[in-house]
Symmetry: C2
Subunit: 229 residues, 2 copies
DNA sequence: ATTACTTAGTGTAGAAAATACACACTATAT
DNA sequence: ATATAGTGTGTATTTTCTACACTAAGTAAT
């Protein structure tokens, strides 16, 4: 019911919580601000939604501009709009999260003029964040904790080919608790969305593990059925 | 990362999907528009977010203005912002849902000048909706289907005192499938969030059922534990 | 070649939860 | 008293969850 379109001084932006996994730790991408307000503070990367782009497009563009990445699973999860959240005016922001595999082949493109630097920081030791970004991050983590139980998002954090131990490691980091190896394997294999490859892990100084791949086709067939961890 | 605050011609609104239950059917509140665009079409009630209110406050105000109701469980669930969604300009809308018990004591306040009429229409026979409101509604229904499995939202659709059969009826309507009576009762009682009253249903021409009440205190104690249907 | 080391990979028994299923009870209306 | 309509309950079976420990395989060092 939007009858009238008054001219309002409000700004609509998107902030991204980019979770990254380097094989060891969960990290998020933060930017060190170079301008007031919150000069020298760390903040979530974000930007203003353009006039002719959809929200998802806008989020993809922002992610691309900040990281050079495309084709990443990304989803909006909450809008933050308290009148006082931005000291210079009314800014309503829509938060998106993305899950990204770090390291490996291509590195992230350096990030532009917005900031002194951009860096992947481990979530176990985050600095104080600008604006209400701590709140945005907290809600984002909560969201992926829930979602990893029901949706195949863990694979976004891993290379295309991965071992079950690596997969378990991702679940443990996101959920913040240890899982039983045998039960984990039993369950994850029983979903039937993993394809066991004829390949083994390489470059390790111990017994090499079998590699698996997430099978999108099989997952698509399951649709409707709920996966549950 | 919102450095600059340009002046943008975008409007930010909230649309509400108000689910109502009258003891028999699930309904949603719709408004028949009295102005172009989409004159004479049915639409979701909504309004523009004020400059000094938070999003939740705004949603509560809008709900109050349209229905006279206060203190209703309400939650944002998705932002819709395709550039073409409003023919007269860029309107980004944040969708909220609310669950409301219909009928009974106090009736809804009549709805203002926005519309020719407001009406509760059964979700089994909805008219074509203005704008992208069908999409907003669909997503809302999907959302409460998920949420009713994990959160105690069903009680918002029922009077304070209700029978287990009524509760089951709500679950069946929202989930869109029949449930087994014995198993339903076993499970819902096992959560320990219902208080059995010493009262019985009145005014029925058959054996009167025991009344129950949702016990918020007990539910609060459970926090962390997941309820699952 | 042997050994030490490190991680991969596997099975089972018991507990708990989910499911399927049918009939007797109670209040009211006639 | 009888018909009616919804209430309220128990159990056996299947499925899923949990807890738990050792052998196999490959690498590295000697």
């Amino acid at each position: 019911m939007e009858q009238i379109l008054p001219h309002l001084d409000s700004v609509f932006s998107i902030d991204c919580v980019l979770f990254g996994f380097d094989g060891k730790e969960l990290k998020i991408l933060l930017i060190e601000r170079n301008e007031e307000p919150f000069k020298d503070w760390w903040a979530l990367p974000g930007n203003i939604v353009g006039p002719d782009e959809s929200l998802d497009q806008s989020a993809s563009r922002i992610l691309y501009e900040l990281t050079g990445l495309r084709g990443i699973y990304m989803e909006q999860y909450y809008a933050f709009g308290d009148p006082g959240r931005h000291p210079q005016g009314r800014v309503i922001t829509l938060a998106y999260y993305a899950l990204i595999r770090l390291g490996g082949d291509k590195d992230l493109r350096p990030v532009s003029n917005y900031a002194k630097q951009a860096n992947w920081l481990p979530i176990t030791a985050l600095p104080k964040l600008a604006f209400d970004h701590q709140k945005i991050y907290d809600k984002g983590l909560e969201k992926i904790k829930r979602r990893i139980k029901h949706q195949p998002i863990a694979f976004e954090l891993l290379p295309e080919k991965f071992t079950l131990t690596q997969l378990q490691h991702v679940y443990e980091l996101v959920l913040g608790k240890k899982l039983d190896k045998r039960n984990f394997r039993k369950k994850i294999v029983s979903f039937g969305v993993l394809k066991e490859l004829d390949e083994k892990q390489k470059g390790v100084s111990y017994r090499a593990a079998t590699l698996y791949r997430f099978d999108k086709r099989k997952y698509a067939k399951l649709f409707g059925k709920e996966i549950s961890f």
